[in-house]
């Protein structure tokens, strides 16, 4: 009986140690993982609703540069009511969430984070289950219900395609024109400053309502604007840590 008790106690001790070790390693690996996510640049976008006129040039430029089906909009411009008798618009690209629900739920890891915070899609890995669409709080993902084989009506007027067309059966979304950023950096350009290294929607905006830059760089235009102005993010209460900030038309409206 005594022996039995000893064994049980030993067993409990051992399991407690085991659990502690497992939890410890898990905590350590998690810290490492979140460190790895922080690359040199942390890209963010700021959209000034006071300047946005709802012209939709951003959407067209996006559709041309990313070769998007005209039925799909990676960047949607929505009616957001009126403030002081003036119409207000809300342009919505992908929020590039820091804790992106789409990345967390994807069974095959086709949605993933880049070191610079961009939420990417591996269109060759995706099996088309659409869990990410159900999980996205911003409706930022569009499924390719059919193949896009026609000519792109936005080309060449609004730009030329820089990425491959996505096949039928996978969802697609905005990725902050990562191809422009990468190529620009290789050429020694600064994204957000040089047009060739900046997302197409930002470049196309005729009123300068869109700004792009690195959050780690304290002198970047987005860092400055966010320091000096009141800004908000969409559905902030969900805690997804969106990287798209909005400057409200009326400074008193700050709730997201």
């Amino acid at each position: 009986m005594t022996e039995n008790n000893f064994n049980r106690r030993d067993f409990l001790k051992l399991s407690a140690i085991g659990v502690a070790v497992a939890a410890g390693t898990r905590a350590i690996t998690q810290v490492e993982a979140s460190d790895a996510q922080k690359g040199e640049h942390q890209w963010a976008m700021v959209i000034d609703q006071a300047k946005c006129t709802g012209c939709g040039y951003c959407t067209l430029a996006c559709q041309a540069h990313n070769d998007v089906n005209p039925d799909i909009q990676w960047n949607k411009v929505l009616d957001a009511g009126e403030v002081n008798g003036k119409k207000v618009y809300l342009a919505r690209p992908c929020m590039q969430c820091e804790h992106a629900p789409c990345v967390e739920v994807c069974p095959v890891g086709a949605s993933y984070y880049r070191d610079d915070g961009i939420v990417m899609m591996d269109y060759n890995k995706c099996i088309g289950c659409r869990y990410c669409q159900v999980a996205c709080p911003f409706d930022a993902r569009s499924f390719n219900w059919e193949a896009f084989t026609e000519e792109n009506p936005a080309v060449p007027e609004w730009g030329t395609p820089e990425v491959e067309r996505r096949p039928r059966g996978v969802p697609e979304k905005c990725a902050f024109c990562y191809q422009r950023i990468d190529r620009g950096l290789e050429l020694g350009l600064t994204p957000g400053v040089d047009a060739d290294a900046t997302p197409a929607c930002v470049v196309a905006c005729p009123t300068g309502a869109r700004m792009f830059g690195g959050l780690n760089d304290h002198n970047s235009n987005v860092s400055q604007v966010l320091r000096e102005h009141i800004s908000y993010r969409l559905r902030e209460n969900l805690g997804t840590g969106s990287r798209v900030y909005y400057l409200p038309v009326d400074d008193t409206v700050t709730e997201g």
């Binding site: 890995k125 088309g128 159900v134 096949p167 059966g169």
Partner: protein, 420 residues
Amino acid sequence: MKKIITAIRENIFTPWGIWLSFLGLVLLGALAAGITIFWKGLVITNLTNLVPWGLWITIDLSSIAVSAGAFSLCAGVYLFGLKRYAPIARTATFIGLIGYTMAMLALVLDIGRPDRFYKAMIFWNVHSLMWEVTMCVILYLTVLLFETMPIFASLEWLRSKFPRLARKMESVHHYAPVLAIIGLGLSSLHQSSLGAMYGVIKARPYLYKPEMAVLFMFSAIVGGISLTLLASMLSGRLTSRAKVNDILIERVAQFVGYLMIGYLYFRFWDWMASRYMHEPGRTEAYHLLTTGQLSFNFWIGEMILGALVPTFILLYRPARLSPFWRMLALAMIVGGVVAFRFDINIVGQLAVVSYLPGQPAISYTSYTPSLVEWASGMGIVAYGLLAFSLGVKYLRVVDHRLTDEEHEMVSVNSTEAVHA
């Protein structure tokens, strides 16, 4: 060839022949629908970016749910020692195998890239509940293949042509207790995770709740056992190939009645929690469910006919003893579980929370399955019915007379079996 034609001519107008022809017609329709879907793509469905999961996912969720009889009854028989229910567990295992293959078929239709199905096994995102469900389902399907091997061994043709193979397959039943443990583990994981898959979706406030896992688990167990009992009783009435021991079924049915009280308790708790306090999106979805377009499904399908009435029938002895009322109650429970899975899949998607700033606005969208979705979906159901019918006819899937040695637990000398 001539022989086959005369055989068909002789059998086509028997009930069996008519049943097979009916299922065959549905399957042909489904085949046509399926080919159209693979050819044209999902654009011909009524799925949208706001409701990306529709009828097929309901069929997927429901067929996994009603397969849960396999793990729960096998656990009862081989782990809790309720040995005399072994013949029912045999039926449940076979239904489980059919159910999981039905779910796989539904997924092949549903996912955008069925040609990449295998990637789900290669690329792991261990953080994703869907990854966990996929893994468990694949592993559990393997377990079910082993568990049903002794059943397939009873095929006359196999016995005469490959007697050694048949004996090998038969001997797998020695491992039934081990398989039951693995099956219990895998099923507990994925049956609840299937609910958790919805429960973690923050974007859809109605779904975002921890009890989703509990509700899925509970509804699966009651639905799974009920379907097993119902299918056994139906077969017993319709064909002489099935031999049913009504005493066994009646006892398990009573047990289902008690389980239903537990299920109702959790549903009541969930219902109260959902309606308490206003939460944008959740409250609207709740109203869709209780007073809106899904209210008939919810109150009649899920609650009154799907849960309350059958619970009463199964726990009221005179009603339970009548095979008609018992079968009706079991059918109602299965219908209730399917209604629950349909509603829960659709309701969170129908009430859309806007991301516009300021007062959260709720918009509503709608979804009605298209003809191809129905045709292919019914084909999956027809496949299930066909597989079960063939099982009853050729594999003695429902046979409660099976002698003891066919279900002997050789490798386990545990304590005496508890008599239920």
